[in-house]
């Protein structure tokens, strides 16, 4: 009798538990929307020529300066924009802008999704400066941007700049910090869909001293990686690079640096153990003499720090300069390279990156880049895009682009990452503390 009861209760219990577990499933009531936000490219200002490298002629594009958010197919793979900024729905591909003042300078930048906070370590606001900070508002509402400029004398009072809906504002750098030789700019989007681009163009009278786009970086970190600093030998003399640093916190930072190149890894003279005053833009000259044409700089600091390197370049006999900025670790993404033929430079202790290169004929090939400290791969002219995957930890990269007009530097960071946003559901719970 008792055994019957045991069997009965065991059978019922096990059955109910089994059935309920089978029926039970994790009820995920949340709905999500996944998309790559549109990217915004630097505006084409007066006298410049701007070409955007894309991978697909069907890419949707619109320009700022209109009251519409309507997009259209771009039609070609290298799109030249006459004025304003381009807002591109490029999906997972990051378009790259090649900006040229014909015969004077050239610069490159990746188009980016709207930002909340970005740093520009580079450019000057002194008498030679012809550069500008270009703020693009790609939204249909008015935007407000807080701009804080740091100079060799310290931080200047932040300025809030309003940018009209779906337009851009060009602010000459001398207006932001008149007379400052070395500047760093921090922009914060207080409201609106904002992107910022800095063009560092210099001249002395009618003589051009070159120019470049200063690529933006993320918030300060304790370990900086600048993967690609071009080293163009002038006969047998050392090239005078300038390391520009900013410690935006409240405490001075003690730094150490390491140069990694195919010639070896060594510490540059006069940097290790140096204390960098906070809130001031500090420049440290680096005279480098080495055979290899590019090197990477790794900086460690006990405080969050920002940095970039200004390198003089010569392109077809004309003097130019390039700003090599810090980049975070490389992520998987695809960069449009149509018509650019960049040289990809990777740095890291143990480099491993799989490149998938798509050519104009639509064919793809995979290249595994492996090495230590620094590795380079030059893409051919026919390469329309390159995808980065199977990346070893601690590897970062940048692309160097050379043309008749000058040298350009593009950090290898995705302009737009897949964003998963929750579709809101009605729930009265939101009104309960």
């Amino acid at each position: 009798m008792k055994s019957d009861r045991t069997f009965f209760i065991a059978l019922i219990t096990v059955s109910i538990l089994a059935v309920s577990n089978l029926l039970s499933f994790t009820v995920s009531t949340s709905r999500f929307n996944q998309s790559y936000p549109s990217v915004i490219c630097p505006p084409n200002t007066s006298g410049l020529t701007t070409a955007i490298s894309l991978t697909d002629p069907k890419t949707q594009i619109r320009k700022t300066g209109t009251s519409s958010l309507k997009t259209r197919e771009v039609g070609i793979r290298r799109y030249a924009i006459a004025s304003q900024s381009a807002v591109i729905d490029a999906g997972k591909v990051t378009p790259v802008v090649w900006q040229v003042r014909k015969g004077v300078w050239a610069g490159a930048a990746a188009c980016q999704a709207p930002i909340t906070s970005r740093w520009f370590v580079g450019a000057t606001a002194d008498i030679t400066s012809k550069g500008s900070l270009n703020l693009v508002n790609s939204g249909l509402g008015k935007a407000l941007v807080r701009v804080t400029v740091y100079s060799e004398n310290g931080a200047l009072t932040p300025r809030d700049i309003a940018v009209r809906a779906n337009s851009f504002a060009q602010i000459p750098l001398p207006n932001l910090a008149p007379g400052a030789k070395s500047i760093a700019i921090h922009i914060e989007a207080l409201s609106g869909r904002i992107n910022g681009f800095v063009v560092d163009e210099r001249g002395k009278g009618l003589r051009s001293l070159g120019g470049d786009i200063v690529n933006s970086t993320d918030d300060p970190v304790k370990k900086l990686q600048i993967p690609a600093i071009p080293q163009q030998r002038k006969k047998k003399t050392a090239t005078a690079h300038t390391l520009r640093l900013l410690v935006p916190g409240d405490i001075d930072a003690r730094i150490s640096a390491e140069i990694r190149s195919t010639d070896g890894t060594f510490a540059p003279v006069g940097i290790n153990g140096r204390v960098i005053a906070h809130n001031k833009v500090v420049e440290i000259p680096m005279k480098i003499l080495m055979a290899s044409g590019k090197f990477a700089l790794h900086i460690s600091s006990d405080q969050p720090i920002l940095g970039s390197v200004l390198s003089p370049t010569v392109s077809q006999g004309k003097s130019d300069f390039v700003w090599s900025t810090a980049v975070p670790d490389l992520q998987e993404f695809t960069m449009a390279t149509t018509g650019l033929a960049p040289t990809l430079v990777f740095t890291g202790k143990s480099i491993a990156v799989k490149l998938t290169i798509t050519s104009a004929n639509g064919k793809s090939k995979s290249i595994n880049v492996k090495g230590s400290d620094i590795a380079t791969y030059a893409l051919s002219d026919s390469a329309q895009s390159v995808s980065f995957s199977a990346i070893s930890p601690g590897t970062s990269g940048a692309a160097l682009i050379s043309s008749k007009s000058g040298y350009g530097y593009v950090p290898l960071t995705p302009g737009s990452v897949l964003t998963k946003s929750s579709i809101p559901d009605s729930n009265i719970r939101v009104l309960n503390p």
């Binding site: 009531t29 929307n33 909340t116 508002n137 609106g192 869909r193 929750s422 729930n427 009104l431 309960n432």
Partner: protein, 1011 residues
Amino acid sequence: MSAPRITALLVVHDGATWLPEVVASLASQSVRPNQVFAIDTGSLDSSVKLLKGARIPVASIDRESGFGAAIAHGISQLPALIKDSDEWIWILHDDCVLHPQALESLLAAIADRPSVVMAGPKLLGWHDRTHLIELGISIATNGARWTGLEPSEYDQGQHDGVKEVLSVSTAGALIRRDVFEELGGFDQNLELFRDDVDFGWRVRVAGHSVIAVSDAIGYHAQASATERRSVDVHGAFLHRPLLLDRRNAAYVLLANSSAWSLPGLVIQLFTGALLRAIGYLFAKLPGYASDEILAIGSLIIHPAELLSARKARKKLRLISPGVVKAFIPSRTSQIRASFSRFAATLRTAILPDSQSYDSPIVSDLEINEDEDLLAPISRTPWKSVFYRPLVIAATVAAVVSLAWARNRFGSLAGGALAESPASFRDLIKLYISSWHDVGMGSGQSTPVWVLVIGLASLLTFGNVSLFITLFFLAAPFILLLSAHAYLRKFTDNSWLSAGASFLYAFSPVAISSINSGRLGVLVLLALLPFLIRQFHQWPEIDRWSWRSIFAHGLFLWFLFAFNPIVLLMLIGGIALSIVADFKKAQKNHTDPLFRVRLVRRITLLGIPFLLAAPSSFGILIHPSRVLREIGLSVPGGGPNLAFLANPGGPGALPWWCISPVVAILLLAYFSTTAARKFAQPGIVFLLCGTLLSVAVTPGNGTPLSTQISVAAFISIATLFSLTSGVVMFDKIRSRLEQSHIDFRHVSVAVILAVTLIYSATSLSWLISAGANSPLQTGGKNVLPAYLSIETSAKSLVLRPYINNGEQTLSYYISRGRDVTLGEPDVAPTDTAVISQAVEGLIDNTGVSSSKVLATYGIKYVFLKNPIIEEVVQTIDGLGGFTRTSATKAGIVWKVSELTGRLILTDYAGTVSIIENKGITAIIPRPGTLTLTETFSNGWKIYQEGFAAARIENSDGLPTFEITSAGEVTIFHDGRQRRAWISFFVISLITVTVLALPAGRRKREISERELA
């Protein structure tokens, strides 16, 4: 001075029961009256024969004659009063025995008090002769007979002495004959009852004194008042003593009181009669209720009688009527006495006196005071209180609660519990209102639990927040006490019952309910031990009285109001029982027993269903609503936790705190038959809960489906488990000691180990992580203060949450304030168009979102911190929204389109916003007026007395055609809601009356109980 002449007048009416002793007491008086004369008012028993046997002269008069008429007749039979003679009448009742020294004591008292014309004895009970009935009487302003004594006051001589009083009872009263005749004797309009107070009053205002003499003792049976004999006097309509007493009380007050106090007295008499009548109705004594009303009515319809009485009294009044004021109890005294009586009743109900007197003391001789003195006094050291298991359990609970509830000292909100409104009036208003300003507006009926909480908050002077806080803080103790009151009946071992009660109070379901703010489950847990007793006899429901059926129906309705899932249990239980009954009746549906049980079971189901209307009808249309909990929806934990008797979800104990509930159930199932009786239903409830825990249903105010909580099932399983445990372990120690080690020892050890581990782990968790439960105090308002200013403006509130590690976003429409208690239960889920517009805000497709939001009167969009940057950028970039602020609270955008509660589109197509003041608004020109509230047939606009034509526009909003400029009145017609409330009140009163114990007429109370 010569001795006074005493004439004893004995009035007899069917008094054979008491008369022999009365006559004997007359004969044994130490001072004999000079003359004894009896007046019989048509007795039908052997009274006259008895009197004649005792050689007492008897005069017989009509059976319908009143007491006053009988005395008047007696006096008329006496020789005429000799002028200046000291002659007294000693009035005797046939149901009042006088102590042998009674007359002597009365005479002694009046001897040196020449102003005294009326003196009465101390009256004690007939059956219980220590029961002090009267020592002088008065009348309260509500007509009650006032003795100034406590109910059933024990006579210890505490009131002894000679006291000036308003009057004394006519039983044993000694009255000076000349004054009696001068004042016209007893008022003949007062045939019975209150003639004594009336006469005393008249004596007083005539300038004489009345005293009560405690040395003179009488034992009064109060045969007429206690309905031991019929009242046959002429004025006693339908022979109803209560009617006569109330009528006479009012007569005495209105005839004797000063003119200026009459209005107040009339109001008080009316109100008192009405309230008492309601009380009698609840006690199912409609006869007494009608007596109360008829008494006042019969007096009012004969004003001439009252006027002549007042005129007669005015003639004989020699001094100010204020002289009696000192003897009329003040209203304060009356209120104090009422409270005292109520407290005594309550005390008796809660703490019944364990001493029972099987036989009443009928004589002083039976009281052996020496015995009292010789009996050793039993003293219990006060410290022993602290060694009581229940006190120890409560102390441990207090210590744990102190740490556990450290974040709950203050206004509570979180989990399923919304914020408390400022006052109980808000809850009452929410219950009564036909339209609720929640989200886009809702016309849903507010569930009755909101009204219950509102009324219960009166205990904290209307402060709902305080009431809720105290309830949640006291919840473990309430559960401890309620479980103990139930479990102690199953064992003599107080440690066992206290331990099991402690486990109940700190069971996973109790902890989860407190932590997640589940008010409904806590109410269920607290009341379950009281309900479950009766359900032990569930199969034999035919043995339940109808009163019990109604009472339990009411109880079930109350639980259903707080836990809709109770209805599901009830339906399931009743369906299974009907099938079982049908089988027992050998599938014969005409079987009388089957029918009796069927009717009772269906009644038990019908009562909660009826009382919960119209919400219960909504369950018929949407059966899934029965699975919802009250308040905000909180998900359950799924089947595996449910099987461990843990409801799971936010605030629940982690899985590794495994309670002994399941282990006890399973062991008890294989234990004794008595334990199995409780284990079986416990297992059924546990398994049903486990199976049901996989169900998902949308919560209140959201279309989102979440896993349901089966806390109610687990609560019942927990109580059954603990009951079976108590039954199983009762006297187990002696059984274990007497047997060799076998499975019993092992099972006890297992249960003890599981219990100890559970106690250690759960209590540790409670005082550490448990304090950070969803239900907490100090939560800041969701909406920033600046959005609360525009109370008429709607704001769309977006709020991010982390769900299963993912950031999710929810929204709701606010009316300038957070959600308060009860509102989630009536909140609308969503409006499809608004949901689409909000979706567009997030996925960057909402170019027209601002226009849509404006259409529905939504003026602001508020993204609460922690903000999601992508969302901010999207809204910023969409256009149609202007950022107005970005603070720590979040970011606010103003919708650029013109919007408000009332949108007027005139015939030229111009749109303007109309501001309303309360329910009125001025319309500047004719046009179409759109009210940005969800369409409901109740919405009406009146202009110049005419209703404006109304349609539901394509957006689902009510739109009215305004034909001319001017003032309009906008309101939601609440007639339907009021009708439902009336239906509810009538149903509730009816069921309550049927459920309450019936009162008994005095004649139905036994002599023994009277003693």
